[in-house]
């Protein structure tokens, strides 16, 4: 897309003239078109493309009849499920159930699972190996937190599925990324697929997945992979492209084969960037814990759901923070492992070469034997468990009783002055006008291909009968994104100036990203009732994380020499910020905006749970009516909105970069 020429207006007309004409035409359509062309506002129902029916018919065929001759499509997916299931069973046995003979209630335990002390010590040793004492302490603290708050059993079930999903996601993403890097056509072909994988809400394709892969943890792992793999693929392709050509030249000179070239030269030298992908796979996998628990994966997600159904906020929060603890431990471990790099091998025997591994094995064996004698070593003693009990419920009650009226006033102000007028405005827009405007904006920013794409996607949303729900989606996510950016930018600017503040902010945004939103959604319902405002709070809380993260990334990356130069020329601090630092960080900030939008859209399914009427609710209804076509059509509409936003921002960032004279290299 980037290679398409950017059209400029015909000579003689000022740059804004084109905009003026298109805007005028759209406003005219908006004001007076309702009578002349009602179909431009609401696509007539009888002409709606029955895409939902087609997709339902196709899924039926795929599930029941699709065949490769010797075996059916379902046989194939069941085989894949069995391949995933085998390692999962092993990990689950090691961490949670112990090795069993037989199934169900007739099963007999042959060996117990790893003792909790052994798991904790092994991960701490891993931390010591990867990052030293500080990391070891942090990881140990995370696992201790899980044990002390009585979440050990569930956490190990969750950890087992994460430990299977993450390597598969990383490996699959890496392979796809390498293919995409080698062949341009693969790259082109998978890009839209990756977009769809990341933006279609999981609920939309949950039912077909369950049929194909069977009900249970395996299907949960597959759903997790679909959602969590795309960033790895993208990062791989990007990282390989960035490997300095000197290195690949060197590889060719010493006569590497194609395979050696890839695994000995390219992948190791791109390792640091690849670890960013690994980190994203971990974070996104943990994001799926709640949904995975709905389809038989159990674990912490299930505890969160059932606690909130009892309105036991404390229990929900404890299980939620156990997920955060897992996320922090795994994330920091993977970061440290990436930063550690490869060190020269230590000469000596097996013990000298692998001190940490031997130590871990020793702890496991000793704890295993000791655990047979002393139960407290095998599983954390119940008597020593802590719980916040009803504390959090009482906090919410106190706020509710004392401040509800004040909160209600704030909410009503926002609703009446901002949310409702904006919603009415968007709902009144003709889809034809929106399509034209977006097409023109696409033409200006990215060329005719982007223009065509925008127009086609908007039209598809309208003619499949999703326009109204799509507009509610745009309204809810749009406002939330603006608020998230309004919070994220200043916080990011402050955090970029102070490392201490940044380390605190990082903990908070990591928490916001991995704490299941259900945990704070229900208290929010108590304080703000069901409806759009509560949904907005949940979306902002989730989407503010990338807004902050990328702002900091951009500001920290500004070349200090440029700032010095600004100072030398007598700029004030304010001028340095607005004229130099923010301007130079613009590409990253735009990337942050892009991610904020993606995060906001991915919250749609959750907000449907507090009574919004957007595409997320449509997906949810389709799930309850067992209608895969309806869900996928709504899911695709969400994906289309995301793709339009993504392509426009991408094009905008490209234009900004070109204007600032920054190369592609700083993406």
């Amino acid at each position: 897309m980037a290679d398409a020429p950017v059209l400029s207006p015909p000579r003689g007309l000022p740059r804004w003239a084109g905009w003026g004409i298109v805007l005028l035409a759209c406003v005219a359509l908006w004001l007076w078109g309702a009578k002349a062309a009602p179909w431009a506002f609401e696509w007539p129902r009888h002409a709606t493309i029955p895409a939902a029916r087609w997709i339902t018919a196709f899924t039926k065929w795929l599930l029941n009849d699709a065949s490769f001759g010797l075996f059916t499509f379902q046989d194939l997916t069941r085989f894949i499920a069995a391949v995933i299931d085998a390692p999962y069973r092993v990990v689950l046995s090691v961490l949670s159930t112990g090795f069993l003979d037989g199934q169900g209630s007739a099963a007999v335990q042959i060996t117990p699972p790893l003792a909790w002390i052994a798991v904790l010590a092994s991960f701490a040793l891993l931390g010591l190996w990867a990052g030293g004492r500080g990391l070891a302490a942090l990881v140990a603290a995370c696992f201790l937190f899980i044990a002390v708050f009585g979440q050990w059993q569930s956490a190990m079930v969750t950890l087992a599925s994460i430990l299977v999903a993450v390597p598969l996601g990383v490996l699959g993403g890496l392979m796809l990324g390498i293919l995409a890097w080698r062949h341009r056509w693969v790259s082109r072909a998978i890009r839209p697929v990756l977009d769809l994988m990341q933006t279609i809400p999981v609920f939309a394709y949950l039912v077909p997945i369950l049929f194909l892969f069977g009900f249970g943890p395996t299907a949960a792992v597959v759903a997790t992979l679909i959602y969590a793999m795309p960033p790895m693929t993208r990062v791989t392709e990007l990282a390989l492209a960035r490997v300095p050509s000197e290195l690949s030249d060197l590889g060719h000179m010493v006569g590497c084969t194609r395979r050696q070239m890839m695994w000995r030269v390219m992948v190791p030298s791109a390792r640091e960037a690849l670890m960013v992908g690994v980190n994203q796979v971990i974070m996104l996998s943990l994001n799926m814990v709640i949904i995975a628990s709905m389809i038989g994966a159990g674990g912490l997600g299930f505890d969160v759901l059932s606690a909130l159904r009892r309105l036991d906020f404390g229990a929900g929060l404890e299980a939620g923070f156990a997920i955060v603890a897992l996320a922090v431990a795994l994330d920091r471990l993977s970061q440290a492992a990436a930063a550690r790099g490869r060190r020269p091998a230590v000469p000596g025997g097996v013990v000298a070469r692998h001190p940490y591994l031997i130590a871990a094995l020793a702890v496991i064996v000793v704890a295993g034997v000791a655990g047979l004698l002393i139960p407290a070593i095998q599983s954390y003693p119940e008597a020593l468990q802590l719980s916040t009990g009803t504390f959090w419920s009482r906090v919410v009650e106190w706020i509710n009783v004392n401040y509800f009226d004040a909160l209600e006033a704030v909410k009503n102000f926002f609703l009446l002055n901002l949310l409702i007028p904006f919603k009415r405005f968007l709902l009144g827009l003709p889809w034809l006008g929106v399509a034209a405007l977006l097409a023109f904006a696409g033409l200006r920013l990215g060329g005719w291909r982007l223009a065509l794409l925008n127009a086609a996607l908007v039209t598809l949303i309208a003619v499949t009968g999703q326009w109204e729900k799509a507009m509610i989606t745009v309204y809810l996510c749009g406002i939330s994104v603006v608020i998230a950016m309004l919070i994220g930018l200043p916080v990011g600017i402050l955090a970029a100036n102070s490392d201490r503040l940044w380390s605190w902010v990082r903990v908070i945004i990591d928490t916001l990203q991995t704490l299941p939103s259900f945990v704070y959604l229900m208290p929010a319902v108590m304080l703000f009732r069901v409806g759009d405002f509560t949904a907005m709070i949940a979306i902002v809380a989730f989407a503010v994380a990338p807004a902050i993260r990328y702002t900091v990334l951009g500001l920290k990356g500004v070349d200090p020499r440029l700032i010095e130069a600004g100072r030398a020329m007598g700029c004030t601090e304010g001028q340095i910020l607005t004229r130099i630092r923010l301007k130079l960080a613009l590409p990253e900030i735009l990337l942050g905006l892009n991610q904020t939008i993606m995060f906001a859209l991915s919250m749609l399914v959750i907000t449907a749970l507090v009574g919004t009427r957007d595409l997320g609710q449509e997906v949810y209804i389709a799930l309850t009516k067992a209608d895969p076509g309806r869900g996928l059509v709504a899911g695709l509409a969400v994906a289309f909105i995301a793709i339009i936003a993504d392509r426009m921002i991408h094009a905008g960032a490209g234009a900004a970069r070109a204007r600032l004279g920054l190369g592609e290299a700083r993406a």
Partner: protein, 318 residues
């Protein structure tokens, strides 16, 4: 599968059959998978069924599953039994599923879901005519239930749209000055109730039983004209001659459903599952013990098993 493990299985099966003296020869020793959802009543029903089946010598396994997504598993035979499928909330998915012929309704559980408009007792002071539904027609009463967004109309918090319930139609047919707001999920419904109850603030919402809420909060159901089948189908019935739905909600059966293959694979278990019944009062008491008195589900189900030995023994033919 190696020969030894197979042999061991046969051995285990025969040992089980001898000790329990029941599981018929043709019954499979594979585990019967029962689904667990995220509310207490269902956990209790399922554990009771599981305990009974185990007493009869069957191998059971519990799988955590979503209430609606589970049908995919039941149809393929990955899951086998779902103990609570509510007429009101699960009917569509259940009918769609049984139409494939791969799942089967195992009969009613004996529990009846009561679902109706509900309000806390303190609201009676503001609206003295309650629980008679006609009190709601009084504008002053409706206003007492209003919020800034709905005033002067009252606000009625209905269930998630997926539950159906015809509340929008009911409001219109009975000409009630109320606006129906749909909660997105069960948890949101009760979060709002908890919030209002703490502040003694007005609220009118959809509550169902068996559930812990009617035990925890003091309140009453609105008494609408009693439901009859004609009320929902025949506009002429009831106070509004032109519209249907001018009455209260029906009592909904709570069904047991499962994989159609259960009958052939575990015929004895199939009979036991079909025979299982329990009533609202028993269930309401057990739910309260778990959710409000802090007992575990296992404690409560063990107590029930001990107290009702005759009943469950009859289900498994002992």
């Amino acid at each position: 599968m190696t020969r030894t493990t197979k042999a061991m299985r046969v051995l285990t099966a025969s040992v089980l059959a001898m000790t329990a003296g029941l599981a018929q020869a043709q019954d499979s020793t594979d585990p019967i998978k029962l689904t667990l959802h995220d509310w207490t009543g269902q956990l209790i029903t399922t554990r009771l069924m599981g305990d009974v089946l185990q007493k009869a010598g069957y191998n059971v396994e519990y799988v955590q599953a979503d209430y609606l997504a589970q049908f995919a598993g039941l149809e393929t035979g990955d899951l086998h039994v779902a103990m609570e499928m509510w007429e009101t909330t699960g009917r569509d998915a259940m009918d769609a599923s049984t139409a494939t012929g791969k799942t089967e309704v195992f009969g009613p559980t004996g529990m009846k879901a009561k679902e109706e408009w509900w309000y806390p007792t303190y609201m009676k002071e503001l609206c003295p005519g309650l629980p008679n539904w006609e009190a709601l027609k009084d504008p002053a009463c409706a206003e007492a239930f209003s919020t800034a967004e709905t005033a002067p109309k009252g606000r009625y918090l209905g269930g998630p749209v997926t539950w159906g319930g015809f509340d929008d139609e009911r409001v219109e047919a009975l000409d009630l000055p109320f606006e129906v707001i749909h909660a997105g999920t069960d948890a949101a419904l009760f979060a709002e109730l908890e919030s209002a109850y703490q502040r003694k603030a007005p609220i009118m919402l959809w509550i169902y039983a068996p559930h812990w809420a009617p035990a925890k909060y003091e309140g009453e159901w609105v008494e609408f004209p009693e439901y009859t089948a004609e009320c929902y189908t025949d506009p002429a019935w009831g106070s509004n001659p032109d519209m249907a739905y001018d009455c209260g909600k029906p009592f909904g059966e709570i069904w047991k459903v499962g994989w159609a293959g259960v009958k052939d694979k575990w015929p004895g278990a199939y009979d036991a599952i079909k025979a299982f019944t329990i009533d609202n009062d028993e269930m309401g008491k057990m739910i309260t013990e778990v959710d409000l008195d802090g007992k575990t589900v296992e404690e409560v189900t063990d107590a029930w098993m001990a107290a009702n030995e005759d009943r469950w023994k009859a289900w498994i033919g002992q």
